[in-house]
């Protein structure tokens, strides 16, 4: 009945107070602001087809103010900007990100022009691909969780979800760039150095990821303490 669906479309506060809620009723679905990313119908899996059909009947949330239909809009970069942001200063965070990408491009183009013709094909100049690849290289595969058993707490190796892995990679990058740098270097310089190092699988962030993996390997004996 239209009357019973109408109450799902109004701004919402949950009756049971959760720790984290939003003004959207959970009935709303997430928007997809990209312009031409539609895969033709024949290549969709049955779940994706179901989701498409569900989208025609369900209300959709409003697009965020940081998302556009432009091809330069990358959700990964947006997430990274939000994580870098302090005290709501989005202007500064976005400025740092733009400067970082510019610095990366400049360095790579310089390297490209300085290198002999044979090696030029291997040099990646697109800062977006460098960022994505670098982040991939920083993502840990396995993590550690603290489990209390018999009065003692053990570090137990635990699988991580995709979101958690992405979050950890970004967090390590940001803390690394904030702490371990010379007083005079700017954030964007240090970030570009770290990203280029991570792209080549070197640098402190990748080292931190490897340390985590070694710790997990060392604590293999406690893996059965995990009950979830």
């Amino acid at each position: 009945m239209a009357a019973s669906v109408r109450h799902l479309l109004k701004p919402w506060t949950p009756s049971l107070c959760f720790a984290r809620w939003s003004r959207y009723n959970p009935y709303y679905l997430d928007p997809d602001p990209s312009k031409d990313a539609r895969v033709p119908d024949s290549e969709l899996s049955p779940e994706q087809k179901e989701l498409q059909e569900l989208k025609t009947v369900r209300p959709i949330k409003a697009a965020l103010s940081s998302d556009t239909s432009s091809p330069f809009n990358d959700p990964l970069i947006s997430k990274f900007i939000n994580m870098m942001m302090q005290d709501g200063n989005k202007i500064l965070a976005r400025g740092i990100m733009t400067q970082t990408l510019e610095t990366i491009k400049r360095k790579q183009v310089e390297k490209y022009h300085r290198s002999p013709a044979a090696k030029r094909l291997e040099i990646e100049c697109n800062p977006y691909t460098i960022f994505q690849k670098a982040l991939e290289n920083c993502k840990p595969i396995i993590g550690l969780a603290s489990v209390q058993k018999g009065g003692k707490s053990y570090q137990v190796p635990v699988p991580l979800t995709d979101n958690r892995r992405r979050f950890l990679a970004m967090k390590w990058l940001i803390t690394e760039c904030r702490d371990n740098k010379h007083r005079r270097t700017h954030m964007y310089e240090k970030l570009s150095q770290e990203l280029l190092a991570a792209f080549a699988n070197e640098g402190n962030v990748v080292k931190r990821k490897h340390d985590l993996h070694k710790m997990a390997e060392a604590n293999r004996a406690y893996a059965h303490y995990r009950w979830w």
Partner: protein, 360 residues
């Protein structure tokens, strides 16, 4: 012993208090209406409708319920705040609650074998559904014996519909059911759906599903208006977090954007805000086609940009095809953002921040 005739025996009046004569209203249950009573009410309603139509000077044949409501509100104006206390004239079906007829015969024996469960229609429905499940299993076995068992059986289309709500099921069964009962019924229907040959009972299942309306039909498209010069334009409003914006989209061919009399480069020095203004136009592919003239007030720069974006998207609806309207809706351009500043709570520093926790 003396034999006395019964007429001469003294009559003793036993005094009884009047409280025993009063009817026990609570034990009687809800007021029962007979079918004749309801029929009489329906007749009176129809005659009264015709009288009302004649009174209002309208045609009695085409007098709808909305006309009745309008006439009653005109003839009996009421200042009462409670809408349910105002004078009402509706069909008796909507006023008198639906009741089941007497469930037992003259000797007091109930007709239905599940009468003593207290919810005979609900349990008989459960029995019916289970019968169908068993019948389907038998059909499946028969097909397997013949060697005709295939996994590619016709599936019922279920997207775009939902199960009937508990209130709707109660209306259908004319009985009250609990949440647990409702869940049990839905689980049984899902089990019926999970069987391979469920398309045999498609009609039965669709009786319990309600079609959801397609969302894109709900958006109001602003009317296309014409300038004295012949240029088409449309006007729309948008709001975000106390910022109110109003946009005029002119189909003139240049791509100028003017906000509050100033160029959008001056009004929004930040790239993100200008991107938000361009977002709906870029999405539809009509960036350089329109002249955007907007006025906005209230809140901060980001909220103003959001309000303008919503207004531009709404104004664009009149220039864009049906398929594009649905695409814009799925991109999140046509929803008004309901997020506002969360209120500060008493006993806390702000909306979420608490005062310093002191152990003692």
């Amino acid at each position: 012993s003396r034999r006395v005739s019964p007429e001469l025996l003294p009559v003793r009046h036993i005094c009884v208090s009047s409280s025993l004569w009063k009817k026990n209203l609570a034990a009687a249950g809800p007021q029962k209406f007979t079918q004749e009573f309801i029929d009489k009410q329906v007749e009176e309603f129809e005659i009264g409708k015709r009288h009302l139509a004649n009174m209002m000077g309208e045609d009695p044949e085409t007098f709808t319920q909305e006309d009745i409501d309008r006439s009653i509100a005109y003839l009996f104006p009421s200042g009462l705040f409670e809408k349910r206390a105002r004078p009402v004239m509706k069909h008796p079906e909507e006023i008198f609650p639906k009741q089941t007829a007497i469930q037992w015969d003259a000797e007091g024996r109930p007709f239905h074998f599940l009468f003593y469960t207290g919810q005979q229609s609900y349990y008989s429905l459960l029995h019916d559904v289970y019968e169908k499940i068993l019948a389907m299993e038998r059909h499946q076995d028969k097909m397997r014996n013949k060697g005709l068992l295939t996994s590619e059986t016709k599936q019922i289309l279920l997207t775009g519909s939902r199960w009937l709500l508990k209130e709707e099921i109660e209306e259908y069964l004319v009985e009250n059911i609990s949440d647990h009962d409702y869940m049990r019924l839905i689980q049984l229907m899902e089990k019926l759906l999970s069987m391979p040959y469920c398309s045999l009972e498609e009609e039965f299942i669709l009786k319990f599903r309600k079609q959801l309306e397609v969302q894109s039909s709900k958006h109001e498209i602003p009317a296309l208006q014409y300038d004295p010069q012949g240029v088409t334009f449309s006007v729309a409003d948008g709001r975000r977090k106390t910022a109110k914006a109003s946009i005029t989209l002119r189909d003139s061919g240049s791509g100028n954007i003017t906000i509050n009399g100033r160029n959008y480069l001056h009004y929004f020095p930040l790239l993100q805000d200008r991107e938000q203004l361009m977002f709906p136009l870029h999405f539809v592919g009509m960036l350089g086609r329109f002249d955007v003239e907007g006025s906005v007030e209230g809140s901060g720069h980001s909220a103003q940009a959001g309000a303008l974006r919503l207004a531009i998207s709404r104004a664009l609806l009149s220039f864009v095809s049906e398929g594009d309207v649905e695409k814009m809706r799925q991109a999140g351009l046509l929803t008004a953002d309901p997020r506002i500043k969360e209120r500060k709570k008493p006993g806390q520093e702000g909306a979420r921040k608490k005062f310093t926790w002191k152990k003692r």
